[in-house]
């Protein structure tokens, strides 16, 4: 692990060095037109930092190209499934868990988080369909808030490991087996599953997100997971060590309760990993506003995690490294909005002083990284949807929306306003 990390750092460092060497001339050129401080700020955010991150990710993911398999386990496990007004999806999600090809027993704890719709009756409708080795229990949590619901479930867990699944995340048939094999063999504190977009057929906004999950999110998780430092074991589908989570005190009532928990596990020096072969299909926001709100929450969650456990408080060198890069993401969001977009306008008007040759270089490494991740996901043999309009929208509008929403989230966190549940 250390050797591969060192090799990755050398590769990314060489890339960074070359970029800087190239950027000096570029900056001199651009400074003829624009203030030098702004030019350097933009070059760092548009080329140096993303180039360093993406080249490292690309190289590391190549080094970890081979998909690891683990011996099968058949130990009993528990799934915590929280539902707040999820009448539309909860039954199908439970059904998906009951239909798992898992060798051991699965006990599903469905926590009804003060639902006011037909969630309860939907749960009871499928509850008795549980076959051999499968069991569904209904729990009720009156206190609104996902963290409370999760803690209600956690109190009932009797197995060494448990899995959390969102009410709108449908698990692929082997998902539980693979994530259990992984956590059992690697002794991780938490394992993030691989999320694909579920049924993205309705809106362009949903189709666009296929590629964010398929390429960006998966690339980052795999990169971090290779060094046991996946920064987000997302609540939508992850496995946890019961003992580790209990020691961390369970979930806190925060906007990004899953992020904060992962950070706390990492702070103790516990490994947080990623299993690409355990796939869940998650329902993504269908509207632009919904997506905006989700990304805003993620940004707040990231800052909550960062302020709960500062990068230098992290338990391992790797976790420290990755959380530092996460701080860099804030910089990237700003640079995209106030450096890249204006630079693009300038380029359209014939001035390539901001968005020029080095940017193309960066875009190229990004494309290379994405292509490699795409091939890797394809190789897993788990079906996912493709959509050309979605891909085009992903290229054209996704980053703008994501960065704006993230910036909004950072502002909210900064001014400590209270957000909403989910």
């Amino acid at each position: 692990m250390k050797g591969k990390f060192a090799a990755t750092m050398i590769f990314a460092g060489v890339w960074l060095g070359l970029s800087i060497w190239f950027a000096i001339g570029w900056a001199r050129e651009a400074s003829c037109y624009l203030p030098a401080a702004y030019v350097w700020w933009a070059i760092i955010g548009l080329a140096l930092l993303p180039g360093f991150m993406m080249s490292g990710m690309f190289f590391s993911n190549l080094l970890h190209w081979k998909c690891r398999t683990y011996p099968h386990t058949g130990q009993d496990t528990t799934v915590i499934l929280c539902a707040h007004n999820e009448e539309g999806t909860v039954a199908r999600t439970i059904q998906g868990i009951l239909d798992q090809d898992y060798l051991g027993k699965i006990r599903v704890l469905v926590v009804d988080n003060a639902s006011t719709d037909r969630t309860r009756s939907e749960i009871f409708r499928v509850k008795d369909l549980a076959g051999e080795n499968r069991q569904v229990e209904y729990l009720y949590c009156a206190q609104k808030g996902k963290a409370h619901a999760l803690n209600t479930g956690l109190a009932q867990v009797e197995t060494a490991y448990f899995i959390t699944v969102d009410a709108d995340t449908y698990l692929e048939k082997n998902a539980v087996q693979r994530i259990m094999d992984h956590i059992n063999a690697r002794q991780s504190a938490c394992v993030a599953g691989n999320l694909f977009v579920d049924r993205p057929t309705r809106t362009l906004c949903a189709k666009m997100q296929i590629y964010d999950y398929l390429m960006s999110i998966a690339a980052i998780k795999r990169f971090q997971g290779s060094y046991r430092s996946t920064l987000v074991a997302q609540g939508a589908f992850s496995a946890y060590s019961t003992q580790a989570v209990r020691q961390a005190g369970g979930w806190q009532d925060r906007m990004g309760e899953d992020i904060v928990l992962t950070y706390q596990l990492l702070e103790k020096g516990l490994p947080s990993t990623y299993e690409p072969r355990a796939v869940g299909y998650t329902t993504v926001p269908q509207t632009w506003n919904g997506l905006y709100n989700q990304r805003k929450r993620w940004a707040i969650g990231m800052l909550e995690g960062l302020s709960q456990v500062k990068p230098w408080q992290q338990g391992s060198f790797f976790a420290c490294h990755f959380t530092c890069l996460n701080v860099g993401v804030i910089y990237l969001d700003l640079a995209f909005l106030l450096g890249f977009i204006p630079g693009l306008v300038l380029a359209c008007m014939g001035c390539f002083c901001l968005v020029g040759a080095l940017t193309i270089f960066t875009v190229a490494v990004g494309a290379l990284l994405s292509a490699a991740v795409y091939l890797y996901q394809k190789k897993l043999g788990i079906p996912f949807h493709n959509s050309l309009p979605g891909f085009i929208a992903f290229l054209l509008v996704f980053q703008g929306l994501q960065s704006t929403a993230a910036l909004h989230g950072y502002m909210i966190h900064l001014f400590r306003r209270k957000g909403e549940w989910k």
Binding site: G25, W26, P35, P342
Partner: protein, 246 residues
């Protein structure tokens, strides 16, 4: 919730627009600089600096800055296919009073081309420059590599403009040599060839200052030609050797 999101997005959009406007203002303020001023004394010696192979997004701005700071007009021989990437630079050249001339469309050795191809090289470059400077007509062609034949002269349809002093600035890392190549043997009526390249950007300022110190007035090709006798002009256009030096 939704309204707040839209408001924030609009706020960010406004911020982006403001930054973009400031940047555009920064870029265009170069174009609106007052033209280079000079009063020519016909009795004092004159030298024309010419720059080939531009525009280069990297080096042309630096050269333009040095020329502007020292209030030196010059002549640029531009390559047609490179013009699209330097629209603002070309407009700036014209705006501050430099002379903009032709260095073919794709910088090929004209001596090796057919008559039709030679005409194309000039016509395409002319087309490109008119996209950026409407109505601009090239009056001089500097053949790439200084290479031409009688056929080139006839087919090109515009006057060939050569040089009398070669800076040899295409040899990298030789800034001192470039400086002395230009400065050591300079005389009245000389045309110096330089390129939009890193070495030139480094030594240009000291070349200009030295020439001015020696009492030379730095002028455009037009200004120089206006003062030359017919004989001198022909010597400039058709040098003693048929093939250029570099």
């Amino acid at each position: 919730m939704k309204r707040k999101n839209i408001c924030f997005a609009l706020f960010v959009l406004g911020l982006i627009a403001t930054v973009t406007a400031l940047l555009l203002w920064g870029v265009y303020s170069r174009l609106s600089r007052p033209p280079i001023t000079q009063t020519l004394d016909p009795d004092r010696p004159m030298v024309a600096l010419t720059f080939d192979d531009g525009p280069s997004p990297r080096y042309t701005p630096q050269i333009l800055d040095i020329l502007y700071q020292t209030q030196t007009p010059a002549t640029f021989f531009l390559v047609g296919e490179r013009m699209e990437g330097g629209r603002l630079l070309i407009r700036e050249m014209k705006a501050v009073g430099h002379q903009v001339e032709c260095h073919t469309y794709s910088h090929q050795n004209l001596s090796a081309l057919t008559g039709e191809e030679i005409r194309q090289e000039v016509a395409l470059a002319q087309e490109e420059v008119e996209k950026i400077l409407p109505g601009h007509k090239f009056r001089y062609l500097r053949p790439p590599y200084g290479s031409y034949t009688q056929k080139v002269e006839q087919e090109a349809g515009i006057t060939l403009a050569m040089w009398t002093v070669d800076s040899r600035d295409s040899e990298p890392g030789q800034e001192d040599k470039i400086y002395s190549n230009v400065v050591d043997h300079i005389k009245d009526g000389d045309v110096v060839v330089l390129h939009d390249c890193p070495e030139t950007a480094k030594v240009l300022e000291s070349i200009i200052l030295t020439l001015k110190e020696k009492g030379y007035q730095l002028v455009t090709l037009d200004q120089l030609a206006a003062r030359l006798t017919q004989e001198e002009k022909e010597a400039l256009i058709i040098p003693s050797t048929w093939k250029g030096k570099s």
